[in-house]
Symmetry: none
Subunit: 217 residues, 2 copies
Amino acid sequence: MKKILIVDDDAELRNNLSEILKGEGYHTEEAGSGKEAIEKAVSSDFDIALIDLMMPKMSGVDVLSELRRIKPKTRVIMITAFATVENAVDAIKKGASDYISKPFKIDELLTTIRRVLEEARFEEGIMKLDLDFTLSSLSNYIRRNIIRLLSLRTGMHFMEITRELGIEDHTKVVFHLKMLKESGIIEQDKDKLYFLTKEGEKTLDCLKILENYLSNK
Amino acid sequence: MKKILIVDDDAELRNNLSEILKGEGYHTEEAGSGKEAIEKAVSSDFDIALIDLMMPKMSGVDVLSELRRIKPKTRVIMITAFATVENAVDAIKKGASDYISKPFKIDELLTTIRRVLEEARFEEGIMKLDLDFTLSSLSNYIRRNIIRLLSLRTGMHFMEITRELGIEDHTKVVFHLKMLKESGIIEQDKDKLYFLTKEGEKTLDCLKILENYLSNK
DNA sequence: GATATTTGTGAAGAATAATTCACAGGCAAA
DNA sequence: TTTGCCTGTGAATTATTCTTCACAAATATC
């Protein structure tokens, strides 16, 4: 069940929203202030936070910023009575997923929530793919060595790599180079020199992190 | 061929040592000062550095510290004329692999070198194994999910896990649980509850690190 | 231009990992 | 005692990954 945090200083509106969302099958919690919102967010993982822009003390934008910092996975939908382009753009820039203005039709809100959840699901899938890719690239000893080699001496020829690895059958190296190329970890320039891509450097970082972590036991 | 860097301000001793070690089948290079030693170490990977503790300007301990920083894989054997417990302990604490005092019998030195090389080989093997293990455990989606599950809710029954994963064929889960058990990542108590081991928590940490790293792009 | 070296392709096969299926002991509830 | 669910085993099958081999285009070298 998806969890939604409702942040608004208007208790009646909070209650109404909460009832409606519960009726739609969501789990909801309410916060009457920015401070309360952050406290609840710390102790629990919400899928979505509906945040009123205009609140006394801590403004909605402040709550947004803090929430994004502590729970980057929680999607934020900003709600406000005074819709201006500036406010909206500002909120989106600061990481809000969407922005709707009071008074809103409840269907509009529900649609927005569903879309944002769908987006989250999709992006999570993308991340899963990235992780799979990275891990499967790193899972092979030869590929790890190729990555390390290319990080030390950037721009190596095929035969250089093969010899450095001490592998007799060059087509074996071709195989792993191809895999790394397909994963976007390495690339070749016009002179056939192999390089680590940006992604490849990130992957190498991951490897180093793991090695460090495992060696400091 | 193993590469040894000899660091001593006494040119004659350097030469003698170098000749002997070459005779034993090692590749050697010489450095007459700490500065020179670091320069050579930067541009080349040595398996072992023999460092005299007492040198003008940059002391052997300073060379040791710097070398450990830039080339952690190079093993260091400290050599000194004035063997004191304090010096020895200090050097070992700072990462020297061993410590011998002048005048030394050449056999003593050769034995020490062989032992240190053997240790290095062993430790490298262990680390490679650990890394392979960890990566292959993490390389599977189902296993990653099991690890995550057990980190959230420690001590789960087999069927709980299976249902939570939404997998119909329970024997599939058995397979991955068995693999994780064999890898020492999870274990079962007398009530058949599954738990993450210490190693498992470390593995989970690795996973989290990677996820965080990949998501903040 | 001939020859050698580099940099590949594609298919077959071996090795390893993962899934599926048939079955079974243990235990708790009816 | 029977029924049903939990927790498995072991073997057969399928999928995936890796290696090997026979061959070849492109480039460099003599």
